[in-house]
Symmetry: C2
Subunit: 111 residues, 2 copies
DNA sequence: GCAATACTGAAGTGATCACTTAACTATTGC
DNA sequence: GCAATAGTTAAGTGATCACTTCAGTATTGC
């Protein structure tokens, strides 16, 4: 379910916005409330909540409400899924280059 | 220059679209012309060229025109930069959890 | 209980996005 | 040289995005 293309889509879309990446960055240093997340951002609390909802829908962030405070934390498995998608494509390319290199080296030996 | 936040922004924005990710996926298996990239996609050539321009502007893809054929290939360093951004945040979080675990284990020993 | 805090939700707006069509240029094969 | 191929460019459109403001609700501290 982590490699579900629809989920992947939501994750990359979530990461596409600089404000949301800044929020993820902040959360990578530890859990935070909505107001704490909002504090360094030059936008209304309301806008931050909307970004937060995007992050939560993507699975990158999980939140939990206790009393009037919503505490947010990163979901590392989701980050790992996005990371993995990129990594697989890069490795596929690099392995291809390696094979090509080997092939060229071999044909050189045979000449 | 690879960790330039503006470039990172362009890269994540480029990866946010499923058609563009499909193009990157195709290119991870080897270089391709614009028409080859377009072939599996249910959209006009023109739309594909527009997506390709986004990918190229982000640095994820490099293209080279020979005669009337534009050949596209992946730029693994750019993929690595996006990968690295995610990886750093995930690791920061996981290291934090580890330290927290150690701390809890220690205070347990002392009880 | 009442003010301050911490969010939440709806409605609106202007900007950007992902396309389309259509007209065009440049290159190649015959 | 002429048709087919390969891509490019511009203009337009409807959908989605990233906000805003404003009016609300629930919780907490005193």
């Amino acid at each position: 379910m982590l490699h579900d293309p629809a989920q992947l889509d939501l994750m990359f879309q979530a990461l596409a916005d600089p404000a949301r990446r800044q929020m993820v960055d902040r959360l990578s240093r530890g859990p935070a409330s909505v107001s704490q997340l909002a504090e360094p951002l030059a936008m209304s609390l309301s806008a931050v909540v909307q970004h937060l909802n995007v992050l939560e829908a993507s699975g990158l962030v999980r939140t939990e409400k206790l009393g009037r405070v919503r505490t947010c934390r990163i979901e590392p498995q989701a980050l790992r899924a996005a990371e993995h998608w990129i990594n697989e494509r890069r490795l596929a390319w690099e392995r291809r280059l390696d094979r090509l290199g080997d092939f060229l080296a071999e044909t050189k030996d045979e000449s």
